[in-house]
């Protein structure tokens, strides 16, 4: 399944191409200086004219860094220059259409973006060359970048969360649980493509028991952090205390280490040179993320003990939005039907975002799922369905062929 932020996807209709490579000397004169340190990312000029925009990067820090240009959802990467080493000065060119972007750096190429700053591109949109291969390549490139950026955020977040849990600092661990899961939930279908990793990271107790697997990962830790009282039931109606006991300190360390190891392995896999996604992976991932919401989360079964389902849902929806945004230009290149579909998906993404916003935000946190009424969950479910229907047409439109890719 996949990822992407809705609000952003609606706004960014411009085709953006990230280019790196040789730069003519004439361009260097207009290059925008970017002063990179370990904890800053200073872009000299926060505006540029549409077209090829050149950035002159210089890393004054102590370790490798990365420069990114994000869409206005602050999630989708429209251009990036990786592995800028200490002391290195390098030029980077991005093809930018008019709109709002954000610039940021990523120290050691992992973790959350540093020095996030708005960057405005003005002027006329360039004539879009609807060369499909270029659009397809761009979609895949954007999406791969996005997956990598999310996993890069995930690793340090999990490390902090796991450390608090292992140390018995339950209050801190509880406060980190929902936010730590966000980058994972945005790209969950990618992890699901790697066999055992998703079960190890994200299996719910009822599934692990039924599969006869050792139960590990986020939800194992969740139950320790929000332990059930006597008489409470699991989501499948079974006694929550049957076959379960609070983890010992040794077990806590073990589960913490395993979770860190698993997300680290995920990071290794998605940053490997041979990591690839297809167009169908991206568009199918968008609908798969919505199905995740519709199948389990909208019923509150995912985060049974913490009640953090709304945060997972918001992250899934963002992920779906990013995936849609990556292939959107391709869909729109398919004529009126494609444009209508994209417009409809935009409308429904916006409506779903607004519906979720009534309960909080990823930054500020969401209402405990248990506090939602039946009418609340039905309204959310209805809006998920309203979005999922047009979204399920996306792959057909993007691929533009009668036979699905297998």
């Amino acid at each position: 399944m996949f990822r992407r932020a809705l609000a952003a996807s609606a706004a960014v209709t411009a085709l953006t191409l990230a280019l790196t490579g040789c730069v003519a000397k004439a361009d260097l004169a207009q290059a925008i200086a970017v002063d990179i340190t370990d904890d800053t990312c200073a872009v000299a000029t926060p505006t540029a004219s549409a077209g090829a925009v050149t950035f002159a990067l210089e890393n004054h820090g102590t370790d490798a860094n990365e420069f990114e240009i994000l869409a206005d959802d602050k999630l989708r990467i429209v251009g990036e220059k990786e592995n800028v080493t200490p002391g290195q000065a390098v030029q980077f060119v991005a093809q930018l259409e008019p709109g709002t972007y954000y610039t940021a750096c990523k120290f050691q190429q992992v973790g959350a973006p540093i020095g996030l700053a708005e960057f405005t591109v003005t002027g006329e949109a360039s004539a879009v060359s609807a060369d499909e291969q270029a659009l397809a390549d761009q979609a895949v490139e954007q999406y791969v970048d996005y997956v990598r950026s999310q996993v890069a955020e995930l690793v340090p977040a999990v490390e902090a969360f796991a450390a608090a849990y292992a140390a018995g600092d339950d209050a801190t661990a509880r406060s980190l649980f929902a936010s730590t899961r966000v980058p994972y939930e945005r790209i969950e279908p990618t992890a699901e493509a790697f066999g055992d990793l998703d079960p190890q990271i994200d299996f719910r107790e009822v599934d692990a028991v039924a599969d006869g697997l050792e139960w590990t990962g986020f939800h194992r830790i969740e139950k320790d952090l929000w332990p059930p009282a006597a008489g409470e039931l699991n989501s499948d109606g079974q006694d929550a205390l049957a076959g379960w006991a609070p983890s010992t300190p040794e077990q806590r360390q073990q589960f913490a280490d395993e979770l860190v190891a698993d997300v680290t392995q995920l990071h290794d896999l998605v940053t490997a040179d041979d990591f690839a996604v297809s167009l169908a992976d991206i568009s199918n991932g968008a609908i798969a993320l919505l199905d995740e919401v519709a199948a389990g989360k909208i019923t509150g079964e995912e985060d049974w003990w913490s009640g953090g389902d709304l945060s997972d849902i918001a992250a899934n929806v963002q992920g779906a939005g990013v995936a849609f945004g990556a292939v959107r230009a391709l869909a729109e290149s398919k004529g009126d039907d494609g444009e209508e579909l994209a417009t409809e998906i935009d409308t429904q993404f916006t409506a779903l975002e607004q519906a979720l916003a009534a309960y909080g935000s990823l930054e500020a946190g969401f209402t405990d799922y248990a506090e939602l009424t039946a009418a609340d969950t039905k309204a959310l479910s209805d809006q998920v369905n309203a979005l999922a229907e047009p979204l399920s047409q996306l792959t057909h439109t993007v691929l533009g062929v009668a036979e699905p890719e297998s």
């Binding site: 009822v206 599934d207 028991v209 039924a210 599969d211 989501s235 499948d236 109606g237 199918n284 609908i287 199905d291 519709a294 199948a295 909208i298 019923t299 039946a374 969950t377 039905k378 479910s381 209805d382 369905n385 999922a388 229907e389 979204l391 399920s392 792959t395 057909h396 036979e403 699905p404 297998s406």
Partner: protein
Amino acid sequence: MSRRGLLGLLGAGAAGAAVGAASATGITMAATSAMAGTGSGGGAASAYPFFGAHQAGIVTPAQDRLHFAAFDVASTLDRTGLIELLTEWTDAAARLTQGLEVEEGGAVGGSDYAPPADTGEALGLPASGLTITFGFGPGLFTDASGADRFGLAARRPAALESLPRFQGDALQPERSGGDLCIQACADDPQVAVHAIRNLSRIAFGRATLRWSQLGFGRTSSTSTAQATPRNLFGFKDGTANLKAEDGSALDDHVWVQSADGPAWLAGGSFLVARRIRMIIENWDRVQLGEQEQLVGRSKGEGAPLSGGTEFTEPDFEATGATGTPLIDTKAHVRLAHHSSNGGARMLRRGYNFVDGNDELGRLDAGLFFLSYQRSPEQFIAVQRSLAADGLNEYLKHVGSAIFAVPAGVREGEYVGQALFA
């Protein structure tokens, strides 16, 4: 939607469907005793014998409609009372399956000052292929507290115990288990409901409904004379099912043999019932090609993706141009196939259901799975294999029960009499 409302809808549709099916296939009504168990008929007016070597309703060509009921026996019931109940049920079932009232003149022939013995809604309706099949749950032998209330504990078939937990289980106690069961199948839903209603009424004070399930649209054919129907995923279901014509395969896979033990169950079978909710809203958003990959068959013809037509044996070794299997490693047809399960086969007899909708506005729909097998191990093997089934993403098992179905009834006996001998 209330049950009453649902019944009304089903009733209206069913009568037309049954008539239509009969005329379309040119099946004429044949109420001969020779059809017992192996008949190829099935029109709206046909009647199957109640008495025979095996209970009817197993290899009988699957009727279009189902009303299945599971009962708990009353805490006050004793062995004598249980035998009396089974005797009265037997007598009533023998009549009902022949299109008769629960007793002579039961509906309107009695006293003006007494409630009618028969509830009356089947007056004027033919037998409609009604079969009534009885089964005994584990609780009849030993109750939840371990008590042997009927002196039957020593006779419990060793394999008759609650099923193990499977992937996708979200079992609801109120939809699971039961000490006794009655499967009523007919081509007219009103006839099936009439049977369960009157048998439940007979049991008042001795056994009470624990759960019941209506089914429309059989999802398996149990005779080669029947076309393969479709489940609510829109796919043909039951192509590779065991069928009445399979002869010795039925002895191998369906009927408990004398050597299997216990002796009283010889000629009977084990019945597994599973209420499988389908998340059809999500399924309906799956691309056709992916749907077919998940099932392993084409949606139109029902042919295996390895090629051929519906009844071509799937070739699980066949690979495509890229070297990947034509039938995916997680395809339902592969994992459910007897070649993947040590040869385990079952006679499936499931029905589609739609019980209104849930609180999220999703149809409460799915497959009410029924399978008959010589040993529960056959079902367990297949269900464990299906843990990897790609379809699981769209399925949730919410009800589960197992019953020992005794052999057929001889005239003058009651169902399961050998158990009490």
